[in-house]
Amino acid sequence: MTSVSVAPPVTAARRGGASHPSGAARKRRTFVVALAFLAPALVLLGALVVYPIVFTLIRSFQDNSGAFVGGTNYLEMFTNQSTFTAIRNNVIWVVVAPIVCTVLGLIFAVLMDRIKWQTAFKLIVFMPMAISMLAAGVIFRTMFQQDPELGVVNAAITATQDAVGGTSAFPSAKARPDSGIAATPDGAIATEDAVDVGDSAIFPLTGIRAGDLPASATQVEDPSSAGNDEITGAVFSDVIRGGGGTPGVIEDGKFGLPGVTVQALSDTGTVLASAVTDDTGRFTLSGLDPGSYTLSLPASNFTAGATGIDWLGPQLITPVVILSYVWIWAGFAMIMIASGLSAIDRSLLEAARMDGANEWNVFRRITAPLLMPVLVVVFVTLIINVLKIFDLVYVIPPGASKPDANVIAVEMWTVSFGGGNDQGLGSALAILLLVLVLPSMIINVRRFRQDKNR
């Protein structure tokens, strides 16, 4: 490899040497000195960059045992469902994350340019950069847990929803099967058959913990006898602590459920009478015309607390991971842009303001164009960074949504080392990643050159 890069200057030196012997000797000496200075870097580059790339390229045409298989790995890469998801997610990442980071960074930088205490604020926005990606991933995974007792985001959401919607005393209650009552589609529990006026009905419910019964609840009693415009009944927990008893029967050891609303409904569902159970679980619906009615315990008795949003589920997982990335990297964008901003000649802004431009026009016509080189550098750097995103995607998704959050770098690791043990396919994925990163690298290198020439 060294000899290849050496070759052109040597021939150049020889050609020069024919006409100007002394110059040739000097050039050769310069060259040797240059080579001596470059050698350590070349050796390092060769060993750490060129050799791995070449080896990966060769490896990508082999199967996991090292036999040559041609383009099979590349074919599998583009036909395999999980790789396809990874590539799709990478596209989403590249489209969304750098833009959001750069725009947020720009907003922060421009706004903070105008406030007191800007160093303090910048420090806060920049702080996440000081946290390792792994730790940030753990933080986000915990924050977005679905269980409101674990995840702070859902805790906030459910607290708000519960404050608005309220909860009930018996959210987990279910109808005892085969006891004449059943859950309705709207969440209520109703009698399966209509109940005649003058009769009584019982509601044996299960799924209520003995420890969760209200303190006032006492032993359930048989419904009192009903008058000729009444229906009576009892709502009770059909479970005896410690087991035993007959399902669906009022007996010793079962507790009445106080405070449950009971309604008598007409055929069309209109509420004709309503009552609330007492401490023994009994209720009396009165003022009914002769006939038969469906009795219902409306859903408001059983409203469960809000359960929160399934942040880490298959649908929302990629947005959540991208959010965590933005949280970390917006600070980087802000610092870069802010330094570009401080380099802008303020007199240009002043001149524009003197000419009557409003702040928006000053930003759009003066600040933004002057910042453009910095914005491009930030943007391209972020694209490269996003393409090879690994740690956050590895840490945040729970196992069940890992396939939906997959990106190329994670897929590469999984098939090579995470159990797949197919380093051929892994190498093919690595080459794909390299090819995707190359354009941005080239753009960045070009810009550096232009900046140097300017």
């Binding site: 969760d212 059909d238 410690g242 087991g243 035993g244 069940a400 999984t414 995470g418 159990g419």
Partner: protein
């Protein structure tokens, strides 16, 4: 206590050594290996290492040999591979993966058991364990430590409150009835931690071993029958009778295994039961809110359709790299009940050795685990540990992931089977 067991053990072992001497012909009289140094390595470190060194200590005492123990942590395959390449393998290694033993045997790195060791193994172990240590008709290994992955752990406080009884949960229907009682009492019947999927593969393996039997289990493990086989349908149907109901605590696919244990044995238990292997007792002890043996108890994985007792599990197998007399004597010693009985009273060892005195186990739970293991009609190694890791050991892919999808949608048995078969085909080919 310890002293007494040594005294009892010594005559037996001396007799064994005498036998070894006769069989070996030219071996030193009385099996005296003074001056011989043996190298043995295993995964154990910390307390486990101390206990294993206690076992080796008895051998040293009996034979005068010096045994050096080295722990290779979780790098067994790498460490042994490097040592073999360097031409300096240990005398004996205790490995946790049957595939590694198989590999070493086919590559000719380890030797079959000598006559004495083989006799000891056949005397003390059930056929399942001998089969597991057999490669191409030769017995290569001695299983020293075992894990029982057919244990159903329950919170006795909740089961008592609900009036459920472990005695009634010996078969699948009874098990579901007990879970329904738990559910009636306001708790979830069972908590499953399906975050990554491996506990689900253990569920399947237990049910499959019961519905299809050990022979089919072996065939499926080796992919000799496809995953679309009717026997797989039957096992998945059985699982669906539980997974498709509200007896399972909601949110299983986002719960880690550790969290599923906490849901049952933590400070605020929400479910009554959790399934996994004997290591659950360690998780419960770490959590600290329940006490193993008091309110944290277990029963054997219920039988399905009247199946006989069967255990899915794992184990660490000792293999010898040479047939020197001293090495083989140590192999025979490891196969003897006396060896295991050095460690058993200190806890942390479940011995697959049938002749270990189970009264030596330090508590009822570990004794119950060991008795379930040695008493089982059939023992099979955890299937997902025997299949190619691309199929049975990769997060987000293959067996693990497809079982998660099946848990999310237990009505799609045929779809799950097709996906399993497709994943198996590509993994076994590669």
């Amino acid at each position: 206590m310890k002293r007494r067991s040594i005294l009892i053990a010594a005559p037996v072992a001396v007799a064994a050594m005498a036998l070894a001497g006769c069989a070996g012909g030219g071996a030193p009289s009385g099996g005296d290996f003074a001056g011989t140094t043996l190298e043995i390595e295993a995964t154990w470190s910390g307390a486990e290492q101390e206990n294993f060194e206690l076992v080796l200590g008895l051998f040293e005492e009996q034979t005068g040999a010096t045994v050096n123990y080295t722990s290779f942590g979780d790098q067994g395959a790498t460490t042994i591979g490097t040592q073999i390449e360097g031409g300096n393998p240990p005398d004996i290694a205790v490995v946790g993966q049957p595939a590694l033993m198989q590999q070493l045997a086919t590559d000719g790195n380890i030797v079959p058991l000598g006559d004495d060791a083989l006799a000891a193994v056949e005397e003390n172990f059930s056929q399942s364990w001998v089969d597991l240590a057999t490669v191409d008709g030769d017995v290569y290994g001695v299983y020293f430590k075992a894990a029982n992955k057919s244990t159903m752990w329950y919170n006795a406080d909740i089961w008592d409150e609900a009036g459920a009884s472990a005695d009634a949960a010996t078969d699948w229907d009874g098990f579901l009835e007990q879970l329904q009682l738990i559910s009636d009492a306001g708790y979830s019947g069972i908590s499953i931690g399906a975050d990554v999927g491996w506990p689900l593969t253990d569920w399947f393996e237990n049910v499959y071993l019961r519905t299809a039997g050990p022979e089919m289990y072996d065939q499926l493990t080796n992919h000799e029958i496809p995953w679309t086989d009717p026997s797989v349908t039957e096992a998945l149907d059985v699982l669906a009778t539980l997974w498709g109901t509200d007896l399972v605590e909601p949110g299983a696919d986002q719960r880690t295994f550790g969290e599923s244990v906490t849901e049952v044995f933590g400070a605020d238990p929400k479910a009554g039961t959790v399934y996994e292997g004997d290591f659950v007792s360690g998780v419960i002890a770490d959590d600290g809110n329940s006490t193993v043996g008091e309110n944290a108890l277990f029963f054997d994985f219920p039988s399905v359709n009247g199946s006989a007792g069967a255990v899915v599990g794992g184990g660490d197998v000792a293999v010898a790299f040479n047939d020197e007399a001293a090495t083989q004597a140590l192999m025979a010693f490891l196969a003897s009940p006396e060896a295991a009985e050095q460690w058993v009273p200190n806890g942390g060892l479940t011995s697959p050795n049938n002749n270990v005195d189970t009264s030596l186990y330090p508590d009822d739970i570990s004794r119950q685990i060991a008795e379930a293991l040695t008493g089982a009609e059939a023992f099979r190694f955890d299937m997902s540990d025997l299949t190619p890791s691309a199929f049975g050991g990769t997060t987000g892919q293959g067996f693990w992931q497809i079982m998660i999808e099946f848990l999310q949608n237990p009505s799609d048995v045929a779809g799950a089977q097709e996906k399993l078969e497709a994943a198996a085909v590509s993994a076994y080919a590669g």
